[in-house]
Amino acid sequence: MVRHKIVLHFPHEQVDKPIVSKLVRDYGLDFNILKASITPREEGLLVLEVTGEEEDYLRGMEYLRSCGVSIQPLSQDVRRNEDRCTHCGACLAVCPTDALSLDRESWEVRFSEEECVACELCVRVCPPRAMEIHY
């Protein structure tokens, strides 16, 4: 059993096709939609948490690629610019998971990429703008 958070970019011509549902039907994978949007240029962006057998996961990803969908692991999505972070803690007020938390020994803000669901709420809330989106 594997669990991966992935960012999918759909090309313009695939936006209106039912692609992701096939992951469930034909590949036996479960997914949880963390984020979905269509850009002004009508490209689709979908952030998923996918769970299933390793073999099914790999076949499912192969299928997505064959449809012209590009796949990135989610951990690349929100990153912290360590030089800008002042460890003030303003982000803690909005983070819906424990991806941002306060270490009560060092009093530094920890950022856990594994727990980040890339909601991006912290990006604009961060006063020194240390949280950056990378697609």
Binding site: R84, T86, H87, C88, A90, L102, W107, V125, P127, P128
Partner: protein, 389 residues
């Protein structure tokens, strides 16, 4: 046994001074007692790092050829105040760049303001100056544009009219919508509580009656050396206090000055507060000379004994009703959860405690190495309680 600042400075010069931070003195007093600590410790260092809107910098640009008496000026398109002599300007931390959308698309991002100009200068990045004038016989030039850096302007001083607030509100939101404030994002129905003080490390909470901090006190400012020049605006010492003398409401403040050229963007960082505006996070550390046992008693204050008011920022703060929902200690705030109106509320700081620690440690090192001497205040700051009024 009372000590004088001159005696302490003599020990600093000889490299013999015993210096501890306002955090370290807590355990020290616990173990050794007030009397022994007063005898053996010379200086207690404090620190704070948080957004301080009442900040800005005076810059003298040097004269243009031909000369100009600047009427209006912009630094990276952020307007500066020019209503003083020909090439003196003041850039305020919260001034926004021209054409910034502000809150027109709510909540506004406020990406670039005066605080960012100041950080850019201190980081030795180039800043674009644009100036206009009406022209006079002695100052005929009407337009001046050039790139400036911190090294080629004539003078540049940070001059902040109100910094280092002695205690502050804990902000919550009782309404049913998200609000965007200078205290950060506040989620509806008591979704979170934001506080902004270094508590037991905070400079003015360690000398609550201003017995040592006064006009002329040399301090750590923005990574360099600065001075307390006056009580800050809104300095108010006539407030409710705990048994340990510390105010339980926002109280005293200081006005500070220092040469921007010695400062460091790590301790002078531009902030953008979503939906509110731009500002500047300022790092301040103040040394407290251990003159007597009383100084030690005040400086050994701990988060459990420091109390802050919880204030609603949806109605009570904006309308100025003065209502306080309750009181909590900094120990409770730092635990991550407080209880407000019977509800458990997660807390978030806006003041960086890790950086406050770093500042107190840096100041300690400076003093230990004999690089930083203490000053005798020219005059103490007004304090109703100390003066027995």
């Amino acid at each position: 046994m009372a000590k004088t600042i001159e005696e302490i400075n003599e020990r600093i010069r000889r490299g013999e001074a015993v210096v501890v931070t306002a955090e370290e003195i807590i355990d020290l007093v616990e173990v050794k007692g007030v009397e022994e600590v007063a005898r053996t410790v010379d200086v207690v260092t404090t620190g704070t790092f948080g957004p301080m809107c009442s900040s800005g910098a005076f810059i003298n640009l040097g004269h243009a050829q031909p000369r100009i008496k600047i009427q209006r000026a912009w630094l990276n398109e952020v307007p500066a105040y020019c209503g003083i002599a020909a090439v003196d300007i003041y850039i305020g931390a919260t001034e926004m760049a021209e054409h910034d959308p502000l809150n027109e698309v709510f909540p506004g991002e406020f990406r670039y303001g005066g605080g960012h100009v100041i950080e850019d200068l201190v980081a030795r990045r180039k800043v674009r100056l644009r100036a206009e004038a009406y022209g006079t016989d002695c100052y005929p030039n009407r337009h001046w544009e050039k790139e400036i850096t911190l090294d080629d302007v004539k003078e540049a001083w940070l001059f902040n009219p109100r910094n280092a607030y002695q205690n502050y509100n804990v902000a919550v939101n009782l309404s049913d919508r998200v609000i965007y404030t200078y205290m950060g994002v506040l989620r509806p129905n008591l979704g979170n509580a934001n506080y902004c003080s270094a508590g037991q490390l905070s400079p003015l909470l360690n000398d609550p009656l201003f017995r040592t901090i006064g006009i002329g006190t040399r301090i750590f400012l923005g990574g360099g050396v600065g001075y307390v020049v006056w009580p800050g605006t809104q300095h108010n010492t006539d407030v409710p206090r705990g048994a340990n003398g510390t105010p339980t409401r926002p109280a005293g403040t200081i006005a500070v000055i220092g040469d921007l050229r010695g400062m460091n963007p790590r301790y002078l960082t531009a902030y953008s507060m979503l939906g509110y505006g731009a500002t500047l996070a300022v790092g301040i550390g103040i040394p407290i000379p251990v003159l007597d046992e009383e100084t030690v008693r005040y400086a050994a204050v701990r988060d459990d004994d420091l109390v802050a008011p919880v204030v609603d920022y949806s109605v009570d703060y904006p309308q100025g009703t003065g209502r306080v929902l309750g009181e909590v200690t900094y120990a409770q705030l730092k635990s991550g959860r407080i209880v407000v109106e019977g509800k458990e509320v997660p807390t978030a700081p806006l003041s960086s405690y890790s950086r406050a620690r770093e500042i107190a440690q840096t100041l300690k090192t400076w003093i230990r190495q004999g690089e930083f001497l203490l000053t005798e205040p020219v005059e103490l700051l007004p304090c109703a309680t100390r003066e027995g009024r």
